[in-house]
Symmetry: C2
Subunit: 266 residues, 2 copies
């Protein structure tokens, strides 16, 4: 989940000489990781990527990402930046991508590597994020997609879940759906899209786009919408839950494995 107001993963490493900014788009299966952000003695996406990149480039790197995903959350379109001392002819973007993909196989894939302007910041330059959450709503689970969906056996009322998306649109204080920021930062976000799509065979995909997201916001919204789908809440309750600003009014947090950071917009 994106914690828009948090500091980057670590201080920029003290590298001598001029630095060149590199932008990468990264996909990962979040299952084996304790989230994106580097932490000591814990397997994280940023930690594993930094170690591999250091091996290839020969100097330490520090990653800044567009959306700090939690433990078990996936990404298809995570965007990161880091600085390197390599420049021009000395920096081989295609070679770096190939070398990293060999080292990071199979759970992390670097989709693209590009030299970026010095002013580019994966986090602060982003103007929008899109997340997807997948529910598998049928009696029978799926042995291939099981790690990427929330399996719910009892039939959900999809029309009600769709109706319940309407109050989410626009700029609101989403504190009812967020972990309170440790620094007392704002929980106001602007949601530009929120919809459920029935993609067949029981797969229900929730797509949500916003300028940024608070911590656990998508999972809290999905958990609440699923309670609408199962009849424990009504679509008409959502506007009141937002207004309440009270996390007790929202539904259970949806499990992490159904969530994926899909795209970051700049």
């Amino acid at each position: 989940m994106t914690l828009f107001d948090e500091p980057p993963d670590a201080d920029t490493a003290a590298l001598s000489g001029p630095l060149y900014r590199v932008r990468m788009v990264v996909a990962y299966d979040g299952g084996p990781f304790r989230g994106f952000a580097a932490q000591p003695n814990v397997k994280t996406v940023a930690g594993v990527m930094a170690e591999a990149t250091r091996k290839v480039l020969g100097h330490p790197v520090t990653f800044t990402c567009a959306g700090r995903t939690d433990a078990g959350v996936h990404a298809w379109g995570q965007v990161v930046h880091f600085d390197t001392t390599r420049s021009g002819d000395d920096f081989d973007a295609t070679g770096l991508r190939r070398s990293l993909n060999k080292l990071l196989h199979p759970h992390i894939v670097v989709r693209s590597v590009d030299v970026a302007p010095e002013s580019f910041d994966a986090r602060h330059s982003a103007v929008g994020r899109r997340y997807r959450y997948t529910v598998l709503n049928r009696d029978v689970p799926d042995p291939f997609m099981g790690r990427y969906v929330w399996h719910i056996e009892d039939a959900l009322d999809l029309p009600s879940m769709k109706l319940a998306c309407d109050p989410l649109f626009g700029e609101h204080d989403f504190s009812a759906f967020c972990r309170r920021p440790p620094d007392g930062g704002s929980t106001v976000r602007r949601v530009t899209n929120a919809e459920w799509i029935d993609t067949g065979d029981g797969f229900l995909r929730f797509e949500i786009a916003a300028n940024a997201f608070c911590h656990q916001m998508v999972r809290s919204i999905v958990g609440t919408l699923v309670e609408v789908g199962s009849g424990r809440k009504r679509a008409g309750d959502i506007a009141g839950i937002i207004r309440s600003g009270d996390r007790q009014q929202a539904g259970q947090l949806a499990p992490p494995q159904g969530l994926s950071l899909w795209q970051v917009l700049y």
Copy 2:
């Protein structure tokens, strides 16, 4: 892969009283298993399923399957049968499916459980099998589908691979594409469909249907067709390879993780 002429996994367990035949459709991620067939001291699909079914029904069971998949090969529509002493009101098909799915989660999923006529045999009653093999043909791998595809970076010539399917149709001795049966059995099979489908984003799906398949036949055919796609063989070579009956003429065996037993026809 289907080894049509092999004996079932083991003798039917010695159960007292009348026996009732049960048919199940099973899907599995073959990655963690040493193939379908039960073997002592090895984790196999049949072994894990038999242990779970014994726990639920309270007596030992022996599974017979339509297609004995090799280590690492998946199934969406594997069909199995076993015999139980439970009958009529005492046998709860839906309850068994749910209990098994709880015990077998996440790599094996029982899609359906039905009482079958005594004469039904998952292997001998089958009149056709359909397999799918998925190639991911693009520069960038996929962190979610990586366990279910053969990733090939260099661009394949799909029209040539499609053309190369034509000679496969019909009844042939497929010994050029098979491991020689240990009992000297026939390697003549009747192929009713063989086609490549471009499903987008670099995913190329090979679908093949036949009355039955010899051991390693689909993987050997796919490996050969991929050599056509990469220019190491020509589409016009396939008919001669079949006629040769010589395994040295065929291509490399495609890796198991791209293969799935899709459907069994009765």
